[in-house]
Symmetry: C2
Subunit: 413 residues, 2 copies
């Protein structure tokens, strides 16, 4: 552990980087809160400002990535803790329709705009794939800060975003194998099936198991037994989901969801979890901002492509997901459409994989980064506007609702 004890400037530099990131994130977060804008936009802008694009105070590094990755894992765990499976089952069908509708339109539009800009076949399907997956973290944080995670539309969005992530990763693995010239349909089908079964299994069985275990957990001699169980489940299911073939964040989301009912009203558990997320999540958002490279935009054609790609990303997702919610009020359709717009980290990762495989050009890579960051910056203010005035269910009514849904759940499970 030389970082701690050796008086080396290199290691102090890591801590200094984290210090700058924290201060910048909290300063910009405070500014945006005062402007009645979501703090998360401030945190991402803080990353753009202190990162390689502008001030160059902080460069992305391995240690920062480790903390950022745990940040998003715990962010999704917290979102899961707020998501009672009953509620998801209630909106499950809606979520699936919204997710599907929001995948097809952006993928096709992304493919054709890239072809029009001279992209190769493989390059263009990568661009299409980068437009698919929704970053649930951004929307969850905005809605969470407004105290609206319990709304039906919020739940549809979060459910659809989780499904979107699964679909996005399946598409990414398809695209990756196409680019390597080995289209293995049976392998792809296996991955897809395993992912869907894993998610369904944890969603159906996890919560019931945890509810039954809960009295035993309380009898442990360890301090903070529920939080300990939460940590183990969160890290364990994150690992398991990668083995199954889906993103780690899906596992941590499912871990939170499995514990949502057993830890309802357990204030200590929620505070302890909040401590971890308050520490780690800012590194995740600042790190996203730091990924944006501004210098490649000296070519006007790239600027035009990036802007058009962003517009298409916003419009196709908004229309696709909005139509997917057909049958609800037009206000709710708009809420769901806008809530699905942020691409954030998932779009960036698709672009990174493409760059790593050597199949997409650096300029296209930069445009996708721009789109991912821009959609993440554009959406939150609109989310705030479109959700303004909404309230969570009244707690009393909520309880009644929950009883109804419990019945549904017993029938399903």
């Amino acid at each position: 552990m030389p970082v701690l004890f050796a008086a080396s400037v290199e290691n102090a530099a890591i801590l200094l980087d984290l210090f700058i990131m924290l201060v910048a994130a909290k300063l910009m977060g405070e500014v945006f809160e005062r402007l009645r804008q979501p703090a998360v936009v401030g945190e991402i802008l803080a990353g753009v400002i202190i990162g390689p694009s502008l001030l160059r105070w902080v460069e992305p590094s391995n240690s920062i990535n480790v903390l950022a990755e745990f940040g998003v894992i715990f962010l999704l765990f917290t979102v899961g803790l707020e998501t009672k499976p009953n509620a998801i089952f209630k909106v499950g069908l809606h979520s699936i329709v919204v997710a599907m509708a929001g995948v097809i339109l952006p993928f096709v539009a992304g493919y054709f705009i890239a072809i029009a800009w001279g992209g190769s076949f493989v390059e263009s399907i990568f661009i299409g794939a980068a437009l698919v997956a929704t970053s649930v973290g951004i929307t969850a944080r905005v809605l969470g800060s407004m105290g609206l995670l319990d709304l039906q539309t919020s739940r549809i969005i979060l459910g659809a975003a989780v499904i979107d992530d699964i679909l996005g990763l399946i598409i990414l693995s398809m695209v990756s194998s196409v680019s390597q010239g080995e289209v293995n349909l049976s392998g792809l089908l296996k991955t897809a099936t395993a992912a869907i079964l894993f998610t369904a299994f944890i969603a159906l069985v996890g919560s019931r198991t945890m509810n039954r275990l809960s009295p035993m957990v309380g009898r442990l001699h360890l301090g903070k037994p529920f939080f300990t169980l939460g940590l183990i489940l969160c890290i364990g299911l994150s690992a398991a989901s990668i083995y199954v073939g889906v993103a780690a964040i899906i596992g941590s989301f499912l871990a939170g969801m499995a514990l949502a009912e057993a830890t309802e009203g357990n204030n200590e558990m929620h505070q302890l979890t909040a401590g971890v997320t308050e520490f780690l999540v800012p590194f995740f958002f600042v790190n996203i901002g730091m990924q944006l490279t501004l210098t490649v935009f000296q070519d006007p054609s790239i600027i035009a492509f990036a802007i058009l790609l962003t517009l298409i990303a916003v419009v196709t997702k908004f229309i696709g997901c909005g139509l997917g919610a057909a049958g609800m009020t037009s206000r709710e359709m708009a809420q769901i459409g806008i809530g699905m717009v942020p691409r954030g980290e998932v779009g960036i990762v698709v672009a990174q994989v493409g760059l790593g495989l050597g199949v997409i050009a650096p300029s296209f890579f930069a445009a996708v980064l721009f789109m991912a960051v821009a959609t993440t910056l554009i959406a939150p203010p609109f989310i705030k506007i479109l959700f303004a005035g909404d309230k969570n269910y009244d707690p009393g009514q909520g309880d009644n609702n929950e009883t109804d849904v419990s019945d549904t759940f017993s029938r399903i499970g």
Copy 2:
């Protein structure tokens, strides 16, 4: 952020390692709690069992180190939060005498035993240096779990351990420059002076500044403003202390101490901090256990040396620090002596630096590792026995005490 999104087995392996470490730590912690032994011993043994020495389920890695390092940084931050500067000033002189007495005896004894075992001059002063620094984390955790951090003897131990760390790092830098043939006395004096001034400055000014800032902090729009301030101070002073030339953990301890009075009774702040430490600290202790290599002990001469070194480490520290507390009751002298015994991570780091410089033999390195882990394992049960029956001051009386000490503090500051 490919760890999260790419379905790579290598990255799942990192999460799986952390999962195994967490489960092993909590399982062994639970077993030791039920045996009425400190959970920390269970966590270290968990590391020995799952690590390279026995089951080989988990190997030390960079990601684990990052989390373990933050674990010990936040552990010392929590210890600092419990350490009101007033209380430290009250025991300050005691702590200095105890620390000094506990440095000289182990250093000299370690030097001569290594010479007797055929060590070179440089090798032997490294062994001496490895016996110097006390691992405050172990004792703090044991006393903390007994709810005895507020005792006068506890405070003397923690104060002396912090001073010990500073002295240990000064000795380490002296030893390192001796081994490289460049004995730069003025450079060493500069480092020593900077370290002492930095610590004294933060201890004197930090707490008063934070107490004055505290009403402004409450007016911030950010959620959890005190915790945010704590994080920034913790990371910032950790970085600053490395630049000054002392260990990062001294900075985080001082950050906690600066906030101890301003956040007294702030339950949210303490819970949020506990969330971070509950998550990260087990990785630190399991990682220590994983450093122990058992295979080198096939040579009986190394076993004998390791055992003798451990005995000397225990006896010299116990007698040295115990005598340093002369004037107190014999029970208190014994409490202070045993509280200073664990070497833990600092002894390991000294050995690692020696190995890295190529000046100590692998067998001596293994013996120091054994001594560091063994003192850490031996001490906690004795700490529990020697402190059994002690109680913290009654809260009411404590308040009275504190008022007295505040006056003292105003006079000093």
